[in-house]
């Protein structure tokens, strides 16, 4: 029985949520198609091996640990070469990366090195005979394409948040390996890694996203959005393209067709009219709340709960109410 490969993404000595999602998805794929082991590749600076047991919790049978000082920051060339060499040697039937920024950078390089095709940003996958059948949102999320991928191994990137990581605990065996290419010889050198906003949650990791649009009227009023995020305690702040274009928020906060696609448990749209470009990035959120002064705004067509009114007037009241509700638990 062929095994399944997963890339376990880490940053700054900690595993990212998408690492568990990739391992858990590989476990599910293996279990649904006759078994076999899940082998996770974990690479980083010396010390990263300590994270291996966390991957066992989500179903990894083997964790291949590659420790190297040159891998402290993501080193795409060395990581791609290492993943490709391992995938080739391991005879895997499928290799799963996250469709995170790093996964979307790595997986195409790996696929091209191996001369195999890949499916990107998939929300589900299953084997049908020897082919892997995947679902992939396209056309700004307005069309779902079902694709059939032949050739072995099948490489996919899995949309973050599309499948929650499920525990399937086991004692993972740890294997040590060397990078397949010297990280110091990479042609692209990471000069600096700036981790944004201190301890703030990233919009890809946060279970709650509070997002602001032009209805906030100014960059200063985003303080009210940040206050609401702080009241939730597990929220990140997002924005529409209009807002990031105006420089009120950084481009990296943009949610939408040309920005990030998110699917949190709760999405709160504040002063957002609901342009298609924005809805493409958040329509898969579990629960959507919208506050907008225009009761005809398209955002109310996708929102589960709406309040019609001036967002600047409503926000402080909502923040206080959320704080109180959180305090009660």
């Amino acid at each position: 029985m062929a095994n399944t490969f997963a890339f376990a993404e880490s940053r700054g000595g900690a595993l990212r949520r998408v690492a568990f999602e990739a391992v858990s998805a590989a476990r599910a794929l293996a279990d649904a198609s006759g078994g076999g082991e899940v082998h996770a590749l974990l690479a980083g600076a010396p010390g990263v091996a300590a994270l291996a047991s966390e991957l066992g919790k989500y179903g990894a049978d083997v964790v291949i640990v590659v420790e190297h000082a040159g891998l402290a920051n993501a080193n795409a060339e060395s990581l791609a070469a290492t993943a490709a060499a391992r995938i080739k040697a391991g005879g895997y039937r499928a290799a799963i990366f996250s469709a995170s920024a790093q996964g979307r950078d790595l997986a195409p390089r790996v696929a091209a090195q191996l001369g195999v095709s890949m499916a990107a940003d998939v929300t589900s996958f299953e084997f049908a005979g020897d082919a892997l059948v995947v679902r992939h949102p396209a056309y700004a999320g307005k069309v779902i394409a079902t694709l059939k991928l032949t050739g072995s191994p099948a490489i996919v990137t899995l949309r973050p948040g599309a499948r929650a990581a499920v525990e399937a605990a086991r004692e993972a065996r740890v294997e040590s390996a060397q990078p397949a290419s010297d990280p110091g010889a990479s042609k692209v050198v990471v000069k600096e890694m700036i981790v944004g906003g201190g301890a703030k949650l990233d919009i890809g990791d946060a279970p709650v996203i509070v997002s602001g649009g032009r209805g906030l009227k100014s960059a200063e009023n985003f303080k009210l959005v940040e206050d609401l995020a702080a009241a939730f305690g597990n929220a990140a702040v997002g924005a529409t393209r209009a807002v990031t274009d105006d420089g009120w928020r950084p481009h990296s906060d943009q949610i939408g067709q040309t920005g990030r696609q998110v699917s949190p448990e709760l999405y709160v749209a504040l002063g957002i009219s609901g342009a298609i470009q924005h809805i493409a990035g958040m329509r898969n959120s579990r629960t959507i709340v919208a506050i907008n002064k225009d009761k005809e705004a398209p955002i109310f067509k996708v929102a589960d709960y709406g309040i019609v009114g001036d967002v600047i007037e409503i926000l402080p009241v909502l923040t206080a109410a959320v704080k109180e509700a959180r305090a009660k638990g």
Partner: protein, 250 residues
């Protein structure tokens, strides 16, 4: 610098898409087309680099049937010098096939820089750029939000989730551009007239094997209609109650 920009023709995403009768594509009737947003940034980036850094050449390349000449002409009217159509009866679903055809065209081109958009806005794969770089054995930076080039070296910023990476590499290189890069300029009347006389070469695309087929396309399920809880700050307690007891997210 000699810069290649790979662009894709895509439908306007504001459209309400319908699925075609074959069930494996969108209904193309009535669709409006343009070059993919990020590809427009890539063309603009190339033009600005060559405008700033003196004599250079910007070559735009697109793979697909003859209709892609519309987008190639648009890039020419923005200021690109010449265009190449890699002719194929359709754009394959397999990014590696596209990358192979592009790499075959780019390989002997002597380009200092090869630009892509971060992803095509229709298929949303973001695979062709880095695959092409890999096939050409060139350094590659994906999804950059800034790009500075001096003395044959490039510095770029890449926005990762919750972090930003600053990378440096030597040219020739492959770069895909993200938000943050300059928006495509509107072609001037003079540019549109000039574009008609610029060379547009048509060559067969060397796609090779394709290993991805589209089995089905469908519209996602509509979200159930929501409800307006109320108006103004007075509706907040009811909203919070519903988030707590019904949606169970608070």
């Amino acid at each position: 610098m000699k810069i290649a920009v790979c662009i894709k023709r895509v439908p306007d995403m504001e459209t309400r898409f319908k699925i075609a009768a074959n069930g494996t594509s969108v209904d193309e009737s009535g669709l409006k087309y343009d070059m993919s947003d990020f590809d427009g940034y890539a063309v603009e980036t190339a033009l600005q680099l060559n405008e700033k850094q003196g004599p250079g050449e910007t070559v735009v390349i697109s793979l697909g049937p003859d209709v892609v000449q519309e987008q190639l002409r648009k890039a020419l009217s923005m200021g690109a010098d010449r265009a190449v159509q890699l002719k194929a009866d359709r754009v394959p679903a397999d990014g590696l096939a596209i990358a192979r055809a592009l790499a075959a065209e780019l390989k002997e081109g002597g380009y200092d820089l090869i630009l892509f958009g971060r992803q095509a806005v229709d298929s949303a794969n973001a695979t062709v750029g880095p695959m092409t770089a890999e096939l050409l054995g060139l350094p590659c930076a994906t999804a950059v939000s800034t790009l500075d080039i001096a003395n044959g070296r490039a510095t770029a910023r890449r926005d990762l989730e919750g972090a930003t990476e600053v990378v440096e590499f030597a040219l020739p290189a492959v770069v895909s551009v993200d938000e943050g890069m300059p928006r495509a300029r509107y072609p001037s009347l003079k540019g549109i007239m000039a574009a008609k006389k610029k060379p547009l070469e048509v060559k067969p695309a060397q796609l090779g094997d394709e290993r991805i087929s589209i089995e089905k396309m469908e519209l996602p399920p509509e979200r159930a209609a929501g409800r307006i809880v109320g108006e103004g700050p007075g509706a907040v307690p009811e909203l919070v109650r519903l988030l707590h007891t019904e949606a169970k997210v608070l």
